[in-house]
C-alpha cells in the first residue's frame, strides 16, 4: 500500500520539478562570436538540456523555449583555461624515492641514511597514476572566481613532481563531481624540478634522462605485457609498474619550456620521446615560432607575462636578454599565429579576472582579436582532443557560453553571465579592494 502511494507520488513530484526547469533556453538578438564560423551581428543561440541545439541569425524558436533578450550583449564560447589547478586540492609534496629505513647501529645510534643508488628504477618524484578526475572538489572557491571571470572550463592537473599526474578537462559547474568531467585523462603533467644535490635526479640532465628512461620502460612494458597475455603459461610475469601505467594512459605529455633555449631544447627532447607532447610556458617562443609550427607540437602560452620581481634589488642591472624577453613575450602569440603554430592560453599565476587584460597585451603586440578569442576557446579544445564536443558555438556542442556586455577585451567590459552545460551562472560580486573598506578580504577572496 505504502509502495503504491509512493509510486503515484513520484511522477507527480517529477512533473513539478520539470515544470520549474526550462525545456530550452534561447538567447536572442545578441552578437554571437561562434569562433568556428562567422560572427553573427544579430543572432540567436538555442540551448536544450546541456547542449547547443541551434545557432543562427533568424532561428525559429520552439514553443517551450524560455527566451532571454540578449540585445546589446555579446555571446562567446565559454572561455577555457588550458592549464590550471582549479578544482583540485593543494597537492602534497611529491614523494621522493622509497625511503630507506634508518639503520640503527649496535650502540643505538642512528646511522646517516645511505641513499643506495636510488636511480630511475625507484621512480623518484613520480605520481603519474594520480588522476585529477578522482580529486575534483566541486566546492573549490577558485571555481567560482574562474566562472565569474568568464571561464566555463579549465584543464586541471596535479602539479607536483616530475610526473605529476593525469589532468582532466573540467566544466566549472561546481556541482556534482562526476558531472564536471568532460574528458579524462587529458594528459600527463611534467615538471623539470630537481630536488637537491645528493638526491636523484639532482640536475636538469638527470630529470631529462629519467623521463626518457620511463618512456622507454613504458614501451617495453607494453611489449612485455602483451607477450605475457598471449602466452602466460611457462613464462615469467612482468612486474606491475604503476608509474608506467600512468604514462601509458596519458594521451599527451605536458612539458615546460619558457625562454627560447628551453623551448628549443624541449622541442628536440619531445621529438626524441616519440610521444604526443605539448609545451607550456613559452614566453620566448617568439624567436622560434617557425620551428614550433614545423614540429606540430602545440604550445600553451602562460598569460603571466614576465615582469620584474617586486623584491628585486633596484640597483641590479638586468641583462639585455631578460629585458628583451619582458618586452617581447606578449608578442609570442602573434608570432605563433603568423607561423601557423597551434597555441592556447592558460592562466599561469594570473588570477582569472586578470586574464583578459593579459590577453589584451598580446593583442596590442599584434595578435588579431579573433585569434585571441580562439586561443581562449576552440584552440584549447583542439589541443586536448575535445573540439568535437566543445570550444565553439556550434549545433551539438556542449552549452558552455560567455555572455558579456561589450567586447571581450575591452577594459570596461563586464561578464554578464555564463552558461555551463546549459545552466546559467551569474558572476559572484567582486571583492571590494582591501584598504578602501577597511576590512580584510574574506569569503571568496584567495
Amino acid at each position: 500500500m505504502k509502495q503504491a502511494i509512493r509510486m503515484l507520488l513520484l511522477p507527480a513530484a517529477l512533473a513539478i520539478l520539470q515544470a520549474q526547469s526550462p525545456g530550452a533556453i534561447a538567447l536572442r538578438g545578441a552578437r554571437v562570436v561562434t569562433v568556428s564560423g562567422p560572427v553573427l551581428e544579430k543572432g540567436t543561440v538555442l540551448l536544450r538540456d546541456s547542449l547547443i541545439e541551434a545557432v543562427g541569425a533568424n532561428l525559429e524558436l520552439p514553443k517551450d523555449a524560455w527566451v532571454i533578450d540578449a540585445q546589446g550583449l555579446t555571446v562567446y564560447p565559454g572561455l577555457i583555461d588550458a592549464l590550471s589547478t582549479v578544482g583540485l586540492p593543494e597537492s602534497p609534496r611529491a614523494a621522493p624515492a622509497q625511503p630507506i629505513p634508518a639503520a640503527v647501529s649496535l650502540f643505538g645510534r642512528q646511522e646517516p641514511q645511505m641513499a643506495l643508488q636510488q636511480g630511475p628504477e625507484f621512480r623518484p618524484f613520480t605520481t603519474s597514476w594520480v588522476r585529477a578526475a578522482d580529486l575534483v572538489n566541486p566546492g573549490d572557491h577558485r571555481i567560482v572566481e574562474a566562472r565569474s571571470a568568464g571561464f566555463t572550463s579549465a584543464v586541471s592537473f596535479p602539479a607536483t613532481g616530475i610526473f605529476a599526474g593525469e589532468g582532466a578537462f573540467l566544466n566549472l559547474s561546481g556541482e556534482k563531481q562526476g558531472r564536471m568531467i568532460v574528458a579524462s585523462p587529458a594528459g600527463q603533467y611534467l615538471t623539470l624540478a630537481t630536488h637537491g644535490f645528493g638526491i636523484f635526479p639532482g640536475s636538469l640532465m638527470g630529470v631529462l634522462a629519467y623521463i626518457r628512461q620511463v618512456s622507454l620502460d613504458a614501451d617495453h612494458y607494453k611489449l612485455e605485457m602483451q607477450a605475457y597475455e598471449t602466452h602466460p603459461a611457462g613464462n615469467q610475469r612482468p612486474n606491475y609498474d604503476r608509474a608506467v601505467e600512468g604514462l601509458l594512459e596519458s594521451p599527451r605529455l605536458l612539458l615546460p619550456a619558457d625562454n627560447v633555449v628551453q623551448v628549443d631544447r624541449m622541442l628536440r627532447f619531445a621529438a626524441g620521446l616519440k610521444r604526443p607532447a605539448v609545451l607550456y610556458g613559452c614566453h620566448g617562443a617568439y624567436r622560434v615560432a617557425d620551428r614550433i609550427a614545423q614540429s606540430s607540437i602545440p604550445v600553451l602560452v602562460n598569460l603571466k607575462w614576465p615582469e620584474r620581481s617586486k623584491d628585486a634589488d633596484p640597483d641590479e642591472e638586468e641583462s639585455y636578454r631578460m629585458l628583451e624577453l619582458r618586452d617581447r613575450a606578449p608578442s609570442t602569440p602573434a608570432a605563433l599565429r603568423k607561423a601557423g603554430a597551434h597555441f592556447a592560453f592558460y592562466s599561469g599565476a594570473t588570477p582569472p579576472r586578470e586574464m583578459r587584460k593579459a590577453v589584451k597585451r598580446a593583442i596590442d603586440a599584434g595578435l588579431p582579436e579573433a585569434d585571441a578569442v580562439r586561443a581562449l576557446t576552440l584552440s584549447a579544445a583542439e589541443i586536448y582532443g575535445v573540439a568535437d564536443r566543445t570550444g565553439s558555438i556550434e549545433r551539438g556542442k556542449i552549452a558552455n557560453l560567455l555572455v558579456t556586455k561589450g567586447d571581450l577585451f575591452d577594459d570596461k567590459t563586464k561578464v554578464e553571465y555564463v552558461f555551463i552545460d546549459g545552466v546559467k551562472y551569474e558572476p559572484a560580486p567582486e571583492m571590494p579592494p582591501a584598504g578602501r573598506v577597511g576590512r580584510s578580504a574574506s569569503g571568496g577572496g584567495e
Binding site: 646517516p112 641514511q113 645511505m114 641513499a115 643506495l116 643508488q117 636510488q118 636511480g119 630511475p120 630537481t194 637537491g196 644535490f197 645528493g198 638526491i199 636523484f200 635526479p201 639532482g202 640536475s203 636538469l204 640532465m205 638527470g206 631529462l208 634522462a209 626518457r212 628512461q213 622507454l216 620502460d217 617495453h220 611489449l223 612485455e224 607477450a227 627560447v260 633555449v261 628549443d264 631544447r265 628536440r268 627532447f269 615582469e307 620584474r308 617586486k310 638586468e318 641583462s319 639585455y320 636578454r321 629585458l323 628583451e324 619582458r326 618586452d327 588570477p351 586578470e354 571583492m431 579592494p433 582591501a434 578602501r436 580584510s440 578580504a441 574574506s442 577572496g445 584567495e446
Partner: protein, 448 residues
C-alpha cells in the same frame, strides 16, 4: 666591467677570405710570414706567397700572429647542469641535453682565442655523464654548437670529489652516496662494466633469437648501460678526472682488464710519477699548468708535470676547467717553457694539435694545414707573450669574434639597452598608476 654580449651575432660570412701578411704558426708545418686562403669554411692554402682570388675578402694581418683556434679539453661552460650526483653511476645523463647556447662564457672563450671545447660532466661520480665537443659558434642554437663528427665521450672521476659524496659533511648533500673511499670507486667502476657486459650479452642473445626467427621481445633498454657498452666497443671516449698515481694505475689496470682504453686522464697532477705507464697504456693526459695543493690529492702537483709527461711520450694537453682560465690558455701554455723547457711549438701544441688528437678531431682542427677547418685565432702579438690579445677568431671560415668591432659597437648597445630599460620602466609605472587609480588590486588579500 661587464662584457656586453653581442646578441645579434651574424658572423661575417664570405665564401672566400684571405688572411694576409701575418706571422703564421701552423704548429705542425713550421712557422712563416705569409697568408692563408680560406674557402667554404676550409683552409685551402697557407704559405709565404698566396694568390688572392678575385672578390675575396682580405683581412690585413700585418704584424699579427695567426695560430689554430685554441682547443680546451676540459670545460663546463654552455650547459645548464653539470653534475648528477644523486647516483653513483650517472652515465644515462648527457651534457648534450642541457646545452645553453646563450651562455656569455662562449663569447668570452672566443675572446681568449678558444674555438673548440670539450664540455664535460662534473667530477662527483666514479662514472659520470656523457660529454660533448662544441665549437664556440656564438649566435647559433644548441644544435649549431655541436662539433659534428666528433666522437662521443663520457666522464669518469676518481678521488676526493667522488668519495666526499659518501662521507658525512663531504659536500653537505642530504643523503650519503656510495662510494666513500677509493676502494669503493674502483668497485663502482668494476660493477658497472660487469653489468654492461651482461647487458651486451642480453642483446646478443636477443639478436640470435631474431636470426633464428624465434619469438622474442627485445631486452629493456637501459640508458645507464648503453654508454658503457659503447665504451667497451670502443665507440665512446673515456675522459677520467684523477689526481693520485695509485688511482691512475688502478684505472688503467681496470680498463685493461675489461678490454677498453682510457682516452684521456684529466688533471692527472701526479701523472709525472707514472708517465711511463700512462704512455704504455696509450692514454692522453690533460692537465693544469701549475695549480697545486687546493686539495690533499693535489699536494704533490708540480709545474713540470706537463713537460715531464711530454718527454716520456705521453700525448699531453693543457686545459682550463674554468670559464676564467679558458680566456688565457695561451699564457698557460707558455708556462711549460719555463717549467720543463718545452719549445714554443711544443708549448703551443698543448693547446692545439694535442687536444685535437685527444678528442679525435685532429683531421679537422688543431693545426693550419690545407683541408682542415678554418678555425683560426689572430693575436696582436706572439701568443706565448703575456701581452698578447686576441684580435679576431674564425670558425669554419666565419668571423665569430672581432675585438675592434666589439669595441665600436658598445656605445650603440648601451643606448639600445637604456632605451629598452626606459621603455619597460614607463610601462611598469603606467600599470602601477592604473592599479592605484582604479583601486584595482591584483590579488585580494595577498601581500604584494
Amino acid at each position: 666591467m661587464k662584457i656586453h654580449v653581442f646578441l645579434l651575432a651574424l658572423p661575417l660570412a664570405a665564401a672566400t677570405t684571405v688572411i694576409q701578411d701575418a706571422n703564421v704558426l701552423t704548429i705542425t708545418k713550421g712557422s712563416f710570414r705569409g697568408s692563408i686562403l680560406i674557402r667554404d669554411g676550409k683552409i685551402v692554402e697557407a704559405g709565404e706567397k698566396v694568390l688572392v682570388p678575385e672578390g675575396a675578402r682580405v683581412i690585413d694581418a700585418a704584424g699579427q700572429y695567426v695560430m689554430p683556434g685554441i682547443i680546451d679539453c676540459h670545460s663546463h661552460i654552455a650547459a645548464d647542469s653539470i653534475n648528477e650526483g644523486g647516483v653513483s653511476v650517472s652515465s644515462m645523463v648527457g651534457i648534450e641535453d642541457v646545452l645553453n647556447p646563450e651562455d656569455p662564457d662562449i663569447y668570452r672563450a672566443l675572446a681568449g682565442g678558444v674555438t673548440t671545447a670539450n664540455i664535460l660532466h662534473g667530477s662527483v661520480n666514479p662514472i659520470g655523464g656523457k660529454c660533448v665537443v662544441l665549437k664556440m659558434r656564438w649566435g647559433k642554437d644548441a644544435q649549431g654548437l655541436l662539433f659534428q663528427g666528433a666522437m662521443p665521450g663520457i666522464k669518469f672521476a676518481l678521488g676526493e670529489n667522488v668519495k666526499r659524496m659518501g662521507s658525512p659533511g663531504g659536500f653537505g648533500a642530504p643523503g650519503l652516496r656510495y662510494p666513500a673511499s677509493r676502494m669503493g670507486v674502483e668497485d663502482v667502476i668494476r660493477e658497472a662494466f660487469t653489468e654492461a657486459r651482461e647487458y651486451q650479452k642480453r642483446w646478443r642473445d636477443y639478436q640470435v633469437k631474431v636470426e633464428r626467427h624465434e619469438q622474442a621481445i627485445p631486452p629493456r633498454r637501459d640508458l645507464k648501460l648503453e654508454p658503457l657498452s659503447e665504451v667497451l666497443e670502443g665507440k665512446r671516449y673515456v675522459h677520467a678526472h684523477c689526481y693520485r698515481a695509485d688511482e691512475i694505475l688502478m684505472l688503467l689496470r681496470v680498463a685493461d682488464e675489461f678490454g677498453f682504453k682510457i682516452r684521456t686522464l684529466q688533471h692527472v697532477l701526479e701523472g709525472y710519477k707514472v708517465a711511463r705507464e700512462i704512455a704504455a697504456h696509450g692514454t692522453g693526459a690533460s692537465t693544469f699548468s701549475d695549480w697545486w695543493a687546493y686539495k690533499a690529492e693535489a699536494f704533490d702537483a708540480i709545474p713540470y708535470n706537463a713537460a715531464i709527461m711530454v718527454r716520456k711520450g705521453v700525448l699531453v694537453s693543457l686545459n682550463s676547467d674554468s670559464a676564467e682560465l679558458m680566456r688565457h690558455l695561451n699564457t698557460e701554455a707558455a708556462k711549460t717553457m719555463k717549467y720543463g723547457g718545452l719549445s714554443e711549438t711544443e708549448a703551443l701544441s698543448l693547446i692545439t694539435i694535442n687536444p685535437a688528437k685527444q678528442l679525435g678531431v685532429d683531421q679537422r682542427v688543431g693545426s693550419i694545414e690545407p683541408g682542415k677547418d678554418a678555425d683560426l685565432t689572430i693575436f696582436d702579438k706572439h701568443p706565448l707573450s703575456n701581452y698578447a690579445k686576441v684580435e679576431k677568431v674564425f670558425i669554419d671560415g666565419e668571423i665569430y669574434f672581432d675585438r675592434e668591432k666589439d669595441l665600436e659597437e658598445r656605445p650603440g648597445r648601451e643606448i639600445r639597452k637604456k632605451a629598452l630599460m626606459d621603455k619597460l620602466k614607463a610601462q611598469e609605472k603606467k600599470s602601477d598608476r592604473l592599479e592605484r587609480d582604479t583601486g584595482y588590486q591584483k590579488q585580494p588579500g595577498r601581500p604584494q
